[in-house]
Amino acid sequence: MLIKHLVRTLVFLLFSNLAIANVDPQEILAASDAVRNPEFPFGFINTITEYKNNQQTDVISLAVYSNPDVRTGQYRNLIRYISPARDANKLMLFNGKDVWFYDPLGKASIRLSPQQRLLGQASSGDVATVNLSKDYHAVSATEETILDGEQKSKRSYKLAIVANTSDATYDHIDLWVEVGNSKPVKARFYSDSGRLIKSAYYRNYEKHLGLDWPMQTVIIDGLDPKWVTVMQYSKLLKRDVPESWLQRDYLPRFKPE
């Protein structure tokens, strides 16, 4: 009797997790990108709050200017530190793997490697606008019902995503996308050794610029779940981000607007 019950449960679990035949995982991934990322240049404020062992340890506020590259489909991002005061008006330019840091006091532009993160637990891929479908390939989609970031039950596609360019920050990702509206719900990011680097919840959706935006991303460290980073978005604006801004020589010219 017990064996029969277990077999029945296993068969159910097996079938419920089988890839869904009539959906294209890559299309779902591209649709989830489109939820977060408009096709026009835009700007927003990203306030990053970090907690360790339930204590707030850091708050950084950034102005992000994003411009989609029509050739690659990927975004170029110019980021200005707003606060804390010690970092105010420092700039970072992300143009693929071409990353530059500019300190207005020293006037020098310094080239950084992608690993030379300046934002604590949040990677450049978290802070900057990134189209996952350009750097990753979704290899399968299965349907699951999960609890979202607001503890509500959501019917979702679980996408198994692998990196397909060396520009990708992570080796592979599990991404849950809500069925019916393609809103990203949750993600798990892994290293090439299979280690969980971090989990992220996308929540507090609001309508801005004609899109449903997750106004908050909660990042939980893979090794230390007491290390939590909250990215709060605000002041989303459609704005001009000229091509000429997105190069090293422009950085000393940049003025806050």
Binding site: I45, T47, S83, R86, G96, L105, A108, S113, P114, P256
Partner: protein, 438 residues
């Protein structure tokens, strides 16, 4: 047997589900914590920075017993203002108040940094910008133009000459921060894949002035200078920069800046400047009014290195520095013992040039962010002279609060009597700093 397998499967399920449950509980806790986050965002659009810094130090001067104290209070301001839609103004100034007025060990014999006044003000920048259109801009006024991709030595940083009025720390990043610009007119055209700049920096006066609030244009604008620089993207991630600089009656100097990504954790850079010029010793002696063979030939200055970042936020830079116009052995080893006066004149001339007196050196810089605790940064620098084997070591521990910083610095200069670093009057300096952002 069947019962055993059933138990095994059940236990496996329990382990997996308990692990998942633990993850869920952790994530639920994290989400509850995130609920406390304020949704208020700081969105300051002000182009301004202001800080006060206080420092107290102890210096061991060579040839004297014990340590000598020194104190400093500094105020530092940067402020940008949009005057009209196309016109903006920018000012950057720093005031250092030192006690004693001259750093322990420095004298008019061994240093150009000798002050009569306790206060020394550095007007770093004061200029207006006219933005004609999205890509074309003109600047007029005093501008701090910093060039070069090198870390410890920048041969293409042509406007560094005479730019330092006071040295508060030998960290190369600090030396770029605390310097005065040159009076100039600059035109810059930016396009999608590059930029071109033309700079004319006129001769104003040849008289340097170290009085407290002097603009000291004699230090930065003692001859007519021209700089043209072009940056052009060749392919994604590779944008070389070319420079041509001409100053006074000197031959034009050509410059090149290259950077590249070796892998996700390593960047490489090469900075080169070359052109016909007299030796540095000849330049130093003729500046004193003496005649000396100029030995004009094509000289090369190079700074090249790698920066590597580990996964736990340690950044290491190794750099090789070379200047064919500087002295090599045996000339360098003989200069001090044979002619101490020319030796000190040569060193003082190179303090103004911000260039090493010897032909080659190695530079190492390490920074460890969040060193065993959040917000504590450990930085370290080693300059090793490859000609005379002397070295300079600098170490800093800096704790960063949101609106202030506390730092403890240690500097050591080691070498034989006439060596590059062994002749620096201060053998050791310990300094405690407090910086407050307003």
């Amino acid at each position: 047997m069947k019962f055993f397998f059933a138990q095994l499967i059940l236990v496996s399920f329990c382990v997996v589900s308990n692990h998942a449950l633990a993850d869920d509980v952790d994530e639920l806790d994290a989400l509850k914590l995130a609920n406390q986050t304020s949704s208020k965002a700081s969105s300051s659009q002000v182009d301004a920075n202001f800080f006060l810094e206080a420092a107290t130090g102890q210096t061991q001067v060579r040839g004297s017993n014990g340590y000598q104290g020194n104190q400093r209070i500094s105020g530092d301001l940067q402020y940008g203002l949009k005057l009209t839609k196309d016109l903006s103004a920018f000012i950057s100034d720093r005031l250092d108040i030192n006690a004693p007025s001259t750093f322990p060990g420095n004298s008019s014999f061994n240093s150009v940094y000798v002050q009569d006044n306790n206060a020394i003000n550095t007007l770093r920048e004061a200029y207006v910008t006219w933005q004609v259109n999205e890509g074309l801009l003109f600047d007029a006024g005093r501008v701090n133009v910093v060039n070069g991709v090198g870390t410890g030595y920048n041969p293409t940083d042509y406007f560094k000459v005479g730019a330092l009025r006071s040295i508060v720390t030998i960290n190369p990043y600090s030396l770029k921060e605390n310097r005065q610009g040159s009076a100039m007119i600059r035109a810059q055209q930016l396009w999608d894949t590059g930029a071109f700049s033309l700079i004319y920096s006129p001769k104003v006066t040849t008289q340097t002035n170290n009085s407290a609030f002097s603009l000291d244009l004699g230090a930065t604008n003692n001859q007519n200078s021209f700089l043209a620089q072009l940056t052009q993207k060749v392919y994604e991630g590779f944008s070389p920069q070319f420079l041509i600089y001409q100053s006074g009656e000197s031959s034009p100097q050509f410059g090149l800046n290259l950077t590249g990504l070796v892998n996700d954790s390593t960047t490489a850079y090469l900075e080169w400047s070359g052109g016909r010029s007299p030796t540095l010793l000849s330049q130093a002696i003729t500046q004193q009014g003496f005649s000396y063979p100029s030995n004009i030939k094509f000289n090369n200055q190079v700074s090249t290195g790698l920066t590597y970042t580990t996964k736990n936020k340690i950044t290491l830079t190794g750099e090789f520095e070379f200047n064919s116009a500087a002295l090599n052995n045996p000339d360098w080893a003989n200069l001090g013992p044979i002619s101490p006066y020319i030796y000190e004149s040569y060193r003082k001339y190179l303090q103004v040039q911000q260039t090493s007196p010897t032909k080659s050196g190695a530079f190492l810089y390490a920074k460890w962010e969040d060193f065993f605790m959040k917000s504590l940064n450990l930085s370290s620098m080693l300059r090793h002279d490859l000609v005379d084997s002397s070295h300079q070591f600098w170490l800093e521990a800096r704790y960063r609060f949101p609106e202030s910083e506390v730092a403890l610095q240690f500097q050591s200069n080691v070498g034989t009597t006439w060596s590059n670093y062994g002749a620096i009057p201060q053998s050791q300096i310990v300094q405690l700093l407090f910086k407050c952002y307003l």
